[in-house]
Each structure stands twice: as C-alpha cells, then as structure tokens.
Amino acid sequence: MAVYKRRYNSYAGSLTPDWSRFYVLTRYAFADLFKSRAFVIFFILALMPTLGFGAYIFVANNKTVQLILQMRMGDVLAVESQYFLYFLLSQSWLAFLLNCWVGPTLVSGDLVNGALPLFLSRPFSRAEYVLGKLAVLGILLSCVTWIPALLLFFLQGGLASGWLWPHLWMIIPIVFCSLTWVLLLSLVSLSISAWMKLRIVATGVTFISFIIPAGIGAIFNGIMRTYWGDLLDFPQLFQAILASAFHDEQFTGAARFDQVPIPMAWATLVLVCAFALFVLNARLRAREVVRG
C-alpha cells in the first residue's frame, strides 16, 4: 500500500520465528554503536594487539625473518600456554574498557523514557530482552578475546608442524575462561545500566565497580595481613583462574594468588554473576510495584 493512502490496514503477512526476535535488539544496538566514529576507532584499536601477537607467531616460525632481525623469538617468549595467557590477559583489559563503553548504553536508554513496557507488551519476554542485550556485549567482547585467541592458536598450529595436536587442550581454557570473563563483564554492566538511568553515571559506576572493590580488597589484605581480600579483585580472580587453567605456575600474578583456592575464585565470580542477574530481574519489569 502506498504511504499516501491514509487508511488503516491490518497486517496479514509473514512473521519472523519467535526464537530469532531477541536478535532484533542486538542488530539495532550494533547499528547505533557503529554509527559512532569514535567507537569504530576504539574497536579497531582493540583488535590491534591481535595483529601484533599474530606477527610474533609469524616471525617465531620463520627462520629467515629471525636471521634478518638477528634474534631468536623463542628466547623472548615461546608460543606455548604462557603466550596465550599473556594474550588473553591483555585482551581482557581491552574487553573491560569496551564493556565500559558499550554496556551502560544498552538498558538505560530503554528505561529512561519508559520504553520497557513497549517491549514486554509484545510476544517478547524479559529473558529474551536480556539475551538480546547480552548478545551485543557477548559478540563484541568475544571479538577481542577468545575469537582472536583461537585464530592465533590455529595460526601457530598451521605454521609449526606437529604443534597443534599436543596443544589442543588449550582450546578449552581459551574459550571457557574467556566466556566466563565476557559473561561477568556483560552481566555487571547490564545490571548497572538497568540500575542507573543516566548513561554517564552508569559508565562511571561500571568502571569503578571493578576498581573500587579491588582497592578495598587490597586495603583489607594490608590491614589483616591476608590475601582473602583478593576475592574482591575480579580481574585478579580471572587472572588466577586463567593461570590455573593454563597450568601456569610461574605466572607472576598467579604466584601471589596461589593461596586463595581456585574454587573460591570461581565461586566468587559465579556469585557476582548471580547478583547481577538478581538486579536485572528486579529492575527489568514492565511496571514497578510500590510496596506498603
């Protein structure tokens, strides 16, 4: 029907499958994000270390280039588990910064002008809403963590004959630990975004939610002469989990942490995720109910 014909028509066309509708939120969020030139530049910069690490693998496996450079790359850092550990730790900080940029915009924009009832008055659940928003962060953060790590892994596997099969076990810590970090970051920033309606405040709170508890933990450690305060230092917990998953005993961060049991580190991260889900469940409602 042409738009100039001012008459109401009901819709009798086809509908998209139910399961795919959460992705509408993801698609629109990506369209908004990539409209910003600053974000595109930041996202490209976040991918740059992968090129550097990839170049290192190339040089480490190319004797000619090493001769030209007059250095043996294996002496600096062998492309083994510690190499991937370093890569994932550096990328986890970039993922954190990316999360601080993107996460706070996702839910607060819908809450500030009361758009949530419009989503939920359609055949669309709160779980689908959270899934759609999580997918935005999940895809973006995966692009800077485990996906490039796997690319590097297979690059090394392709260049170094006989390397791939003995190191295949590393795929599990690369994917599983990275996804844990991605999930933690995404849930924390979404819950803060659902709590703080002002974007700038949400960004600030997302940033300090990882810094302030770590500081408090360090103070607690200093006063009580213990290391249990590290349970509030989420990046440190992730580092410990990652080091443990890569069986890295020498890693400096893990050495300081090795007295806090890894199951406790896991339990803390799971608790933080559960709390974030609790906040999302409390905040993402079509109608607020005033008690009393």
Partner: protein, 315 residues
Amino acid sequence: MPATPSTIELDGLEVQLGGRTILHGLTGALKTRAIGLLGPNGAGKSTLINTLLGFHAPAKGSVRVLGLDSHTQGKALRALVGYMPENDAFISKMSGVRFVRYMAEIAGLPPDQAMERAHEAFVYVGLGEARYRPVGTYSLGMKQLAKLAQAIAHGPKILILDEPTNGMDPPARKRLIELIREIREASDICLLLSSHLLRDVEETCDEVLILRNGRIASICNLVEERRANRKFLEMETSGAEAAFTTALEALGCECAVFSHGRMKVVMPENIEIREVFRVAADRGVQIRRMNHRRDSLETIFLNAMEQTGAADGRL
C-alpha cells in the same frame, strides 16, 4: 459450532500488588468490539490493563482476552495486542519511523515489512513530516501519536489504549478520537480504551466497564442504552391526563404518572413521537415540556458510583 469468545472475560479476577489487593474478584464478560474502561483515580484501571497484558499475575481467578488466558497464554495473547501506555514510552534518540519499525520487528514483522508499516503508520497518524526527527524532540501530542503509531504498526487484533488523549489540545484530541474511530471501523480490530474523559469513551466505545475501588461498579452496553433512550420520554402535561395515558397505553406505551401532570413514557420500537403529539391533540391535552431521556455516560457513571456507595464518585 463453537460460540464466539467474549472480547474480555473476567472470572473472579483478584490481583494483589505490594501486599495489597487491588482488584477484588472481578467477574463479567465484555462482548463488544469497543470497550471503555472507566473509574476514578485508584479504581484499578491500569492494574487491570497490566494484568491483561500479563505484567501482573492474578492472585485468584483469571482473565481471558479474545479467548486467551492472560497468564498461561500470555505470549500468544501479546502477539495480538497493540498497546499504547499512559506514560512516556519511547526511545528518545531514535527517529520516529525507526522507533516504530523497531517495535514492529520485535512484534515479529520482517525488517522490510516493518519498515513499510512504520512509514504507513506514521503517515496515517499524521506525523509523516516529522518521522525522521528523534522522538525525544516531539511535543507531548506528537509523542502520543507516535505511541499510537507503534501500537498499530504490526496490525494487532486488539488495541489497548491507556489514556490516549492525555496532554492533547482540543483539536489534537478530536483528531486522535477520529483516528481511533476510523481504525475501529476500517477493520475487525477490538478496542479497549481507558480514559478519565467520559467523552472519549462515549465517542469511541460500545460497552463500558466501570471500576470503583477495585470492584466492578457497572458493565453497561452503550449501544443498547442509546437505543433504549431514544424511546424514553419525560413529559409535563396539562388536561385530561387519565384519558391521554389510556390512549398511550392502547398504542403499546408504558406510562408512569406523577403529580402535577408529570409522566414518563416508554414507547415501543414501532411508535414515533409524532403519534404522542397526535394522541395529545385528539384528547385536548397540552404538552408543556417533553424530553427524550438522555442517559449520558456521565449519568450512567454517576449512578454506578452511587449504587456502590460512592456519592463522591468523581473522576
């Protein structure tokens, strides 16, 4: 052949929020295509709408809309609904047409169809020129129209409008009411309109559900009421009242005579008012005053409030 389901069917619906019972065992069936929801502030209108949409779970009883239970078949029901909330509900940075397209896609329309319908809906509600502006820059009236556009873009089977004319100036209100009537008449869409403006309901609805303190004060079919009112006369006469009454009764009218020549007459369908004048002239009776009883919605509403013990039933 199965019976056509009521538009809205309430079966002992009780809703509790924050530890308080807001809706108390509502029972009734609303069968027409255009239903008005009336009641004073705090009567439970918005709670009822939110329960219909599945936002609140009933503590007891159930409510069915177009034959679907709002709680157990919520998703299927919401697939049929277009909802225009009372409060601000938009994404301020999005352009109007993109906002409506977004909502249509979430309702299940494919992207190209959603885009086409969003443009159509925007032009239809009269915001064609403003469709590329961010919704946050719209005036209050334009925001109301944008909310209506997102409610109709996906072609719902039932349109739920919560205080649609809030904040609109009289011409804009008139245009919106015309739009709602057009939508109703142009398709088989059902309408549930909640408003504190009796005129809005009177102009758009066939049936009205009046709530007071979370209870049903009245369910009234306005179509039947209007039809009945056309045949109900109040008169003040002078002369041979008894003979006049007898003659009217011979025509099939029901008469009630009061003091000082005042009488009420209910006429059968086939009798016109000129018959009454003719009988009065034949009997030499003067008709000094004659009124069609015009039970406006206001009267119905006030009666409902009084019957449930609310002499101060204000809107």
